[in-house]
Symmetry: C2
Subunit: 348 residues, 2 copies
């Protein structure tokens, strides 16, 4: 929230569309053997031999998915890649390539886009993917980022949402709800800043939950870990819209019910203390918050010994027959139906 | 430009994001053997066996690439697919799948998006491609469409921009410049409409050039025709930004020069008469207009007999050594350097 008054500003019109793409992508290197031709022709050319490929796409819109008053552009570039890779990993696949398109208004100087692309480049390096194409155009208002991610997977290893069976265990990676509460902290500080721009916020006690919001990671490590443990989930989905929404998707497509145990939902201590501070129920946040980018999956009971005691995994419930419905078993041991809330983009 | 006052309006918030995607894509069928799983999971799953796959992406932004006051939404959906398929065909590949993402403000009722998707569906049917995924989100202002297209090609058949050699012939499909003049007609009629909304324009004598702007086609047929004629171009590019801009790209990447003959550029009679009416030079329009979605390619001279006299092709020049530069040979037989103008998205 601190503006550097001396920052350099190069107007985008000085470069033009082709100059801009060339400039922003000049450091991007091709590393994957499946990438035959990257940026620079009418299309990229890939070859995956006999593997299956997975394709997923997401739009991030300023004012809807992010607020540049507290989201640094480098983090935004990083996050735009992460949210797509998370969908690739949720297929039990390895991410290999992305295309990145942006629509941007003239109010952004070149240096701002360089920051954005620095974040994209960092994510590409850390997650070992190639940036193979994209489009750059102007917009009349804010910034919009469209990413398409591609991954590869052995045909017999693909995991869909629809394979869960009664008695399977419901498992989640990492912890849930932190990204949402990180956003609440950022929104609060924005209001404080509006009133008193000289206020220097002390955000150290919220560092984890803020990082979960501003710089989330995708669980590439979980795909590898499951493979190393010789566990193939029966169904899998990534948690972008909140645990309850994703459980509903998974159970609906698998035509099953489930019992989810409130007491088993993994919550970070910082999330719990922040929920107490805001007087919000942490279970509600975990169920409906979203943007966790963890993986939710089901495994057959015989695989339980393989994941038991692994700190990356929490067994949070089990799958039931469809007619039993989707239930949250509360700490008071009452059953209440699970309802989706998640993000409502189109509400007035 | 005629509004139907009785049209039905269903607010997008009544459906929510998931309901909206389900609703808009419910008629979309999977036909390609390379599509294993389409819409409905974290990602689509594809398999191309040993073929190369090509990937290309484009953004279309309201107020930058289209104006809804004269662009019907169904045509816009169709065109959004076409502009991407054109890039696939420019690799000498067959288009197989697309993802379509939209950001849309609440001012659009559901029925408007149904129109848009009807156009997408029509294009998917005609060009025999599967719609395998996408994202739907709100925007604070207008409409934005992001399409990623995927195609397949035998590895030995891929054609890049960089293979042109001195003495190769420079060939273009169809005719050039009409889409740009179609846009000039539509812009003029918009101004007339503002002054007198009751004016009923007679656009029959502009029907071809308006169709080239509002409902362009991609040259899938040319990829097949080249294959049938046993011609593999040495380089190829699609003409989206104007002939001169694309010739510059092709020659730059191939490290060659060229002589382009003004008298050989294929122009439709309706384009010529409209240029006369507007007192604009038709060569300037052909060189800088853009949005033609024709294919520009080079072939070795020995392939000339195979394409000679084919009405789909015009030989418009030949490739020279790089040091000879890029030249337009005018009707007066003077040589002038070719300069890019094309679309300048970021100009103030």
């Amino acid at each position: 929230m601190i503006e550097d008054k001396n920052q350099q500003r190069t107007n985008l019109s000085e470069l033009g569309e082709f100059g801009l793409i060339d400039h922003l992508t000049k450091n991007f290197q091709i590393k994957k053997t499946s990438t035959i031709k990257g940026i620079g022709d009418d299309a990229a050319v890939l070859n995956f031999e006999k593997k299956n490929i997975v394709v997923t796409t997401d739009l991030l819109v300023e004012g809807v998915h992010f607020d540049l008053s507290y989201m640094p552009l480098k983090h935004l570039g990083y996050k735009a890649i992460i949210v797509n890779l998370s969908d690739v990993y949720a297929m039990n696949a390895n991410a290999t390539q992305v295309t990145v398109s942006i629509a941007v208004s003239n109010r952004f100087p070149l240096e701002a886009l360089e920051e954005l692309y620095a974040g994209i480049e960092t994510a590409a390096k850390i997650y070992d993917i190639d940036v193979i194409g994209g489009d750059t155009t102007s917009s009349n208002t804010g910034l919009l980022i469209s990413v398409t991610a591609i991954g590869e997977v052995d045909p017999e290893k693909v995991v869909y949402r629809n394979g869960a069976k009664p008695n399977d265990l419901l498992v989640v990676s990492g912890d849930i709800g932190a990204a949402y509460m990180g956003l609440q902290i950022l929104e609060r500080e924005k209001e404080v800043y509006k009133v008193n721009p000289n206020n220097q916020p002390d955000l150290e006690s919220y560092s984890y939950i803020i990082e979960r919001q501003l710089k989330p990671e995708a669980r590439k490590d979980i795909v590898k870990l499951l493979s190393d443990l010789d566990v193939k989930p029966t169904a899998m989905i990534d948690i972008s819209d909140g645990l309850s929404s994703e459980i509903i998707h998974l159970c609906k497509q698998s035509e099953v019910g489930c019992d989810l145990y409130e007491s088993k939902i993994p919550l970070d201590p910082q999330l719990i203390s922040t929920c107490e501070e805001f007087n919000i129920d942490s279970t509600t946040v975990a169920l409906n918050g979203g943007e966790d980018y963890e993986l939710l999956f089901t495994i057959s009971q015989e695989d339980f010994p393989k994941i038991k005691a692994n700190p990356h995994f929490s067994v949070i419930g089990f799958i039931t027959e469809k007619k039993a419905g989707l239930n949250l078993v509360t700490r008071a041991e009452t059953k209440i139906p699970i309802k989706a809330q998640g993000w409502k983009n189109f509400s007035d």
